[in-house]
Subunit: 229 residues, 2 copies
């Protein structure tokens, strides 16, 4: 399967960006192997640069590197999935509040365009694109809040959320409703930090509620437990 276009030479950052985008759009799925030679040929660089990219992504939790075995798209466990959304619940509501306090009319216009794109992606049935845009919306808010450090954390968490969704989303076809995004944007427009914070909190809880994060026997920590009658 041809997943990427083939440019000539790329930097490690380019490769990270493209691979990350592919994860966001669920073209790269959890567990897929990323062979260095293969990636190197696709991007027209040597393995040296590919390794930089893969190590960077492993540091973001998007890729799992097993020594002498290679790099794989990460497969977050249920515990990790919970942690990702718990961290988001700590960071993003407050960030939305800060963004609501700072948002300029340009910021709001950008958000509005963004939501339009989300709708367009859903209408044309491009679920992968819709999912990616949905994640980017959250990053845009972090950007507006002007908190680079938290933005970097959010970026990592949103990316990992894509993996969590790929693994644990319940109703496969159903809605990635940008309804909540609309409500958030309106709170920004009203310069209403309290609402923005609450809406973000609710939005995240809503997302979590649509995941199936019940413990499964296969994830049981100990072999002994698994063999219990």
């Amino acid at each position: 399967m041809q997943i990427f276009a083939s440019p000539q030479t790329s930097t490690a950052e380019d490769i990270v960006a493209e691979l990350t985008e592919a994860v966001h759009e669920h073209r790269l799925q959890p567990g897929m192997k990323l062979r260095e030679d293969e990636v190197a040929e696709i991007f027209g660089v040597s393995r040296t640069v590919v390794r930089q990219a893969l190590r960077a992504m492993s540091h973001e939790g998007l890729v799992a590197i097993e020594r002498n075995r290679g790099a794989f798209v990460a497969k977050p466990t249920i515990k990790e999935a919970r942690e990702v959304f718990e961290a988001r619940t700590l960071l993003e509501p407050q960030t939305a509040r800060a963004a609501a306090e700072r948002a300029t009319s340009e910021d709001i216009a950008a958000l509005e365009r963004h939501i339009e794109n989300e709708h367009a992606a859903i209408d044309m049935g491009n679920a992968g694109l819709a999912l990616k845009l949905s994640g980017l919306f959250h990053l845009e808010i972090a950007r507006i809040a002007n908190q680079r450090t938290i933005e970097a954390f959010a970026q990592q968490l949103v990316s990992r959320s894509s993996l969590v969704i790929a693994l644990y989303w319940q109703r496969r076809g159903a809605l990635c409703e940008s309804h909540a995004h609309h409500a958030l944007m309106n709170a920004f427009r009203r310069q209403d930090p309290d609402s923005a914070e609450e809406l973000m909190k609710g939005h995240l809880l809503d997302l979590i509620s649509q995941l199936d994060l019940r413990d499964k026997p296969s994830e049981s920590a100990s072999l002994k437990d698994a063999l219990k009658k």
Copy 2:
């Protein structure tokens, strides 16, 4: 100046760990250059491995890599310094709460030993060691809370805090009082999450208040502003 012991062969992780420890103890100071050859010789590996380590640290915000110019210990700006502690204020109080709910008697014993070590370091006048231990105390709490994801964020934030302290601490000689750490541990012992959360919040605010984060003309964002009469 001889900063490191010289072992034979090390992994990239070893190098990250040693360099990070040196940052924590203020043996490596903001702005110092980290030449690849030099580090490679010290650790007895090739530049390949050193580059892995330096790139990992740059991703953590501990090292700044300038293209074709090399790696330097990062020099957080005042804005970054504020962001680091704002992020800590979002994450750590809640984490302390979670830790207070989960802490076992072994956890508390470990914290107690840790605080003793902090006192010992202060008594023997080893400010660098005391500073490092002070940071590790916060990481120990994240570990007790059993939140790997947040622990990773906290690790990065604590490391960057060491750089911030190196740059912006006001009274050079004065106290890194582990007083607040004692109070936190007692809250854990009482299984008092509310207190733990409040104490951590207050502790962080206290730390921030001892930094000099006033804007300085030299940090003016634009050259144009700087040249204005």
